[in-house]
């Protein structure tokens, strides 16, 4: 039996195991181990069980992951998000749909110090959802706004997804972060336009709030300060060459810790934040370990090469290949976690992307936006489930209905970035 055939059998086995509720990390590890042992031999496969965890966990480039998570957790636990939301609300709250706009703006700014979409959605929902409901916002608009707003965390730097993509494909982490900035902000603008159009078409979706004076607006802006200062420290430090993007995570986490302590966080609160950080980090590293073992198998199975040859033989245009890959991402995104999907699929499709002549950094941005869609599309939208936890009386169907206009907005953004790569590559 050829290596590629064994490869496809093992990938099939992996999908079956995933479908019967076996954790994604474990299915990748099992398929990788069995496939490698089948193609090479059992003893070398056992060696992977030493190499994969040791090489992965002592890889300095992975060290920002727990730091970026810690930043988000500290910001959330020290209630920085409350101050941020009330600041944004003082700017837009009086407009029809203004609280939704404030929530979106808060999500965008919160994303600047949180690398995780789920953390962004959870932190902002806790503060903004009760306010929107209190002011008579339709459940679909309130929950849809927050589920979609949370996805900004995956694109606006620092982003764990962009970091992982950079490490998998050996791109510069700094370049990936810079490339994510404009598409992330574009997402924020398009989401805001979506809310504005929605409330224009259906005014009953949201009521105008209380007007605020100029002084209240200026005071409210103070709420944005902690976030902007941490963001400026991170991005400014990288730009000025004071530290590397890898080191920026630790600097950012420390800056956020200082703000959290100033806001009253004590030892017990810090320990709780560390615990939450480790639970999330362990989840990501379980998947990275599984993907690493799977990666050893992928390289000996030569599946990627077979795939490139196969696609070559089909004589498809580069853009048809791109659309096929994005369609695959969208389909997988419906049932799979975004980070898991990136770890699983990027090593397989990346050679295809390179062979088609696409810029790897630009493709990373396009891939992450597509993966991001999976966070809010049915049946498995992680952000939707997070919002559901905060709005137990709202049906999942109603949240998905609210999210749909934002999905369209994301598709528009995707089309714009495919049509105008400069949107992603302009800052490089």
């Amino acid at each position: 039996m050829s290596s590629a055939t064994i490869g496809f059998i093992c990938i099939g086995m992996m999908l079956v195991l995933m479908a019967i509720r076996i954790p994604i990390a474990l299915t990748m590890a099992i398929a990788g181990f069995v496939g490698f042992a089948w193609i090479i031999a059992f003893d070398p496969a056992m060696a992977i069980l030493e190499n994969a965890p040791f090489e992965t966990l002592t890889n300095y480039n992975f060290s920002p992951i727990p730091m970026f998570i810690l930043m988000g957790v500290l910001a959330s636990r020290s209630k920085m998000s409350d101050q941020l939301f009330s600041g944004a609300r003082s700017l837009f709250g009086a407009w029809r749909g203004g609280i939704s706009l404030a929530a979106l703006m808060s999500c965008g700014i919160f994303s600047a110090i949180s690398g995780s979409s789920v953390a962004t959605a959870a932190s902002m929902s806790r503060v903004a959802l009760p306010e929107m409901r209190k002011h008579g916002y339709a459940d679909s608009l309130a929950t849809g706004t927050l589920a979609a707003g949370g996805t900004l965390g995956i694109m606006i730097p620092p982003s764990i997804a962009l970091l992982l993509y950079a490490l998998i494909t050996e791109q510069s982490v700094g370049d990936m972060f810079m490339a994510g900035l404009i598409p992330g902000l574009l997402g924020l603008v398009l989401y805001s336009v979506t809310v504005t159009i929605l409330v224009r078409l259906k005014p009953e979706l949201a009521m105008p709030g209380e007007a605020t004076t100029l002084m209240q607006k200026l005071v409210g802006l103070k709420g944005l300060l902690p976030f902007t200062s941490v963001f400026v420290i991170i991005i400014g430090g990288i730009y000025l060459g004071l530290f590397t993007p890898t080191e920026a995570a630790a600097v950012g986490a420390f800056s956020t810790l200082v703000i959290a302590v100033k806001r009253g966080m004590r030892w017990a609160g810090f320990l709780d934040a560390l615990k939450e950080t480790l639970v999330t980090s362990a989840m990501i590293f379980f998947m990275i370990l599984g993907a690493e073992i799977f990666g050893f198998f992928l390289s000996v199975s030569r599946i990627s090469f077979e795939l490139v040859d196969f696609v070559d033989a089909l004589n498809l245009s580069p853009y048809m290949i791109l659309f096929a890959i994005l369609l695959l991402f969208m389909l997988l995104g419906c049932v799979m976690d975004s980070i898991a999907m990136l770890l699983l699929t990027v090593p397989v499709v990346f050679p295809l992307v390179q062979a088609a002549g696409f810029d790897p950094v630009w493709f990373g941005v396009v891939a992450v936006i597509t993966v991001e869609l999976g966070l809010i599309t049915p049946p498995v939208g992680m952000n939707v489930f997070v919002i559901k936890a905060f709005a137990k009386d709202v049906s999942i169907g109603s949240i998905y209905k609210g999210v749909m206009p934002f999905v369209i907005s994301d598709l528009v953004r995707l089309a714009l970035i495919i049509a105008f790569p400069v949107l992603a590559l302009g800052l490089l």
């Binding site: 995933m18 479908a19 019967i20 509720r21 076996i22 954790p23 994604i24 990390a25 474990l26 590890a29 099992i30 181990f33 056992m46 060696a47 069980l49 030493e50 965890p53 040791f54 966990l57 002592t58 890889n59 300095y60 992975f62 060290s63 727990p66 730091m67 810690l70 004071l242 530290f243 080191e247 995570a249 630790a250 600097v251 986490a253 420390f254 810790l257 320990l271 560390l274 615990k275 950080t277 480790l278 639970v279 999330t280 980090s281 362990a282 989840m283 590293f285 379980f286 998947m287 049932v335 799979m336 976690d337 980070i339 898991a340 049946p379 498995v380």
Partner: protein
């Protein structure tokens, strides 16, 4: 048996605390590295507080921070596709969970065997780390503790889930 389960849980919690401290240490080491480097540059080299081995310390801190968190997190940090098993009975789900944790047990046993062998090899060859010259046998031994505890905790969680399926109290 329940006393042993409690002991393993307590050790896992203790290891999680060590993980937390290591994450903090990682942050402070990188910060110290950045600050001393900046001072060196600002003073044109007259104030040299830079130190060797910062990257290596962070690498090992990351290794143990994550590895020592895994035993406690093994049943708390998993991502599953539950679309196709949503309507399965609770018993069926527990059965599948026991299968999953049995898988983790085997995986962690495999890792432990390899790290056990790695300790022997490192002792014989006198292998040390690159910058700080730590004996690698110690590093592998500390790694083995993490994978062994992961195997033990996964085994106990498997037993717990199977016990629930069979209606037996662990």
């Amino acid at each position: 048996m329940s006393g042993f389960v409690r002991l393993v849980d307590a050790i896992s919690r203790g290891m999680l605390l060590i993980s937390g401290l290591l994450v903090t240490a990682m942050m402070l080491i990188v910060l110290a590295d950045v600050v001393t480097r900046a001072l060196f540059r600002l003073t044109d080299g007259s104030l040299d507080l830079t130190f060797i081995g910062g990257i290596e310390l962070v690498r090992f801190a990351l290794l143990f921070a994550i590895l020592y968190a895994l035993p406690w997190c093994v049943d708390r940090s998993q991502v599953v596709v539950d679309l196709f098993t949503e309507n399965l009975s609770e018993r069926g789900k527990l059965m599948l969970e026991s299968l999953c944790f049995a898988g983790y047990t085997l995986l962690a046993i495999g890792m432990s065997i390899r790290f056990w062998q790695a300790i022997g090899h490192a002792q014989m060859s006198g292998e040390t780390s690159q910058d700080l010259m730590f004996p690698m046998s110690y590093i592998y031994a500390a790694t083995l503790l993490g994978t062994f505890m992961l195997a033990l905790r996964s085994l106990l969680v498997t037993g717990d889930r199977l016990g629930k399926v069979l209606g037996v109290k662990a």
